[in-house]
Point group: C2
Chain length 401, copies 2
């Protein structure tokens, strides 16, 4: 009976997701992608020397609270031919009409990327084309204008070069890059905005949960805390996925947990943890080691760290790597049988974050992630860091000149 | 089998909703409600005469595109004691840090109210205490600060009196009031904002779909278009409920429909239509007339027009009034038996809007709302208008001095 319910439910979810995808694709604008003004048109206005801020020390960095000296701004006006000239200027307050759609209807999306200063002094960014692809998908879903990915990467690279001294001289820190796209048209109708602003700000950031993996996190898995659903926007990086989670995350923190493990459905499917994708490393029914992560079924964010981990571990070929739904009852059973080796989160901000316990249905499930002699999460983390900080040359790392 | 699935599904929804409610309530801050600075502290800076805009003609009004001369602003800073002095000033652009949480994580909510100029020249607002209650509930859910309802009503009333000439001299128009609350703290963490801005802007608006009821709407009921979900924020008036619907509504419009009829779940429960609550007037199994609307199960907005219609029609006592889930298959069956008399939407913007057809599962269900000799929707609309425009004195209408 329980299995039947679960199958019915999954069938419902899959058919919904597929139906939405088909319908939305068939209803997308048939026009050409909107042309993005060339990077070559960029205008740069530097901050005067007395306005330059002191760079904070690495140990004093707080995530997302200190910003570099400059920003990138590109306005979009449908009636003025679309995208306007890219502008790099001193970081400044934005001037928005109080009826701007972003302030009422969450017509907004963002990305998260990082620039790393390697031991060779070279600054690199990690697979930026994937962030741009996801940003364009978020724009399409939110009624915001699309753009040419490579042109925006060039503009962002120029911004990073101008603020290059803000890229920390440390392998325990990096420069967080926040591209943002908001609907600015001052009109209260719930419709696509005719004007928009794409902007990019930069923040030096330290380790999110520590880079040595010594800081593991505890998760609260409560089926009443729901992040996304079929027909929603759970697979897009839009503001609407975040605001509604604040109170729930706070509730978890108050109860002593680091983050929420987001579940979905009657069968308590594991989807994401906090703002990270989740990986579960187990001994499967064939007695083999298997790394499992949630599939891209519309309910989870298609993380770039997630994708990189899947590609990297498949290339290693040392264990099975599977994208499939795992439920909390299944994880609990595997745990009771001693078959859960590791659980870890993955994302741009945290990179890889080991999980030590999951509270579910009145029970604290202990996860021996930190007890493994040579844990997979740690090897993944070290490999990613080696690529990002240029210890090894790799096509995923793109140099900023 | 189908019934069993439906029961299981409903049981799941109800238990989730109940669980969330209990948990959130138990986790709410135990502190006193934050005190709102007194209306008595209000500061008023009037626009200079040359800056006053000409009032548009009623027939030229477009919803939410023209704004009055002044606005109300109240800043909140947790570190500076909370709410600051209320300020009425000329309508102006807002200056926001590019890292303001509202621009990234949709930390935002709003309300919709109207001021009506009666045939007696008196300006009235409709049950504003209910908007303030809902706004406080939205704030609680979004991590934004709560406030004293009556003090804010006084501030808004003062704003309306200053811009009183913007309340149209017409019973086919009104002044739309848009209280908005946004998180302004410049920090990229997904946490409660330490600073916020509450502001109110005003727009003269004409009839949304016409006040005579001659303009009926057609709805697209597509189960892949999902507005809200248990564990989400479907019952709060927050930006996150709106942005994700833009593309779906546009898809419906492209297919020739006015609005989306939002369904939920495997059994295709009817929840809302566009941005309206929905009412269905039928002949029930006992052969009696019955007015049915979706219950407040967390999936629909607790509309003030909805509540007023329920209270009003119950007081009339001429037919049954029921809050319960109706599914699309049930509506289709009733329609085939000729037992659907009327369907109409209800909300502050549209007041009451008759529905003429619903497209569902490849079939166009015709609704004879406009064919009734003395339709209920029309009596409801006329009664609400009579209260709002002061044809009858009623406690729901509050005078602005």
């Amino acid at each position: 009976m329980r299995l039947q319910r679960r199958l019915l439910h999954n069938e419902f979810v899959c058919s919904l997701a597929s139906s939405i995808s088909t319908r939305l694709q068939s209803s997308l604008p048939k026009t050409e992608p909107q042309s993005f003004r060339q990077f070559a048109d960029i205008s740069v206005r530097l901050a005067s020397p007395e306005r330059l801020q002191p760079k904070p020390e690495v140990k004093a960095l707080q995530f997302g609270k200190q910003f570099s000296d400059h920003m990138l701004k590109i306005e979009y006006h449908a009636r003025a031919g679309g995208w306007q000239q890219p502008i790099i200027c001193p970081l400044e307050y934005l001037s928005l009409h109080p009826a701007a759609k972003v302030l009422h209807y969450a017509v907004e999306l963002f990305e998260g990327m990082k620039a790393y200063r390697g031991r060779d002094g070279v600054i690199r960014i990690f697979r930026p084309e994937l962030n741009m692809l996801r940003m364009n998908m978020s724009a399409l879903r939110t009624g915001l204008p699309g753009f040419d990915s490579e042109e925006l990467i060039k503009c962002i690279s120029r911004l990073i070069s101008i603020d290059s001294e803000w890229v920390p001289h440390s392998e325990a820190a990096s420069l967080y890059i926040r591209p943002t796209l908001i609907g600015t048209e001052p009109a209260l109708g719930v419709t696509e905005p005719e004007s928009a602003l794409l902007y990019v700000i930069l923040c030096p950031v330290g380790p999110y949960f520590g880079t040595k993996g010594s800081n593991s996190v505890s998760l609260l898995a409560d089926p009443s805390f729901v992040r996304a659903w079929p027909g929603g926007v759970g697979d897009k990086k839009v503001g609407s996925n975040y605001g509604p989670t604040i109170l729930l995350s706070k509730t978890a923190t108050r109860q002593g947990f680091h983050q929420v493990l987001w579940l979905y459905g009657e069968d308590h499917q594991i989807t994401e943890a906090g703002t990270m994708n989740i990986f579960i490393f187990i001994i499967n029914d064939q007695g083999e080691r298997e790394l499992i992560t949630s599939p891209l079924n519309g309910l989870i964010l298609p993380g770039i760290t997630r994708q990189s981990i899947i590609e990297m571990t498949k290339e290693w070929g040392q264990f099975q790597v599977t994208e499939r739904v795992m439920t909390m009852p299944e994880l609990r059973s595997l745990s009771r049988e001693g078959r859960v080796l590791e659980v870890f989160g993955a994302g741009t901000a945290c990179i890889v974050s080991p999980v030590s316990s999951i509270h579910y249905s009145g029970e604290m499930i202990q996860i021996p992630t930190l007890d493994q002699p040579s844990p997979v999460y740690s090897r993944i983390l070290q490999t990613l860091l080696a690529i990002q900080y240029g210890h090894i040359e790799h096509p995923w790392a793109r140099r900023i000149d």
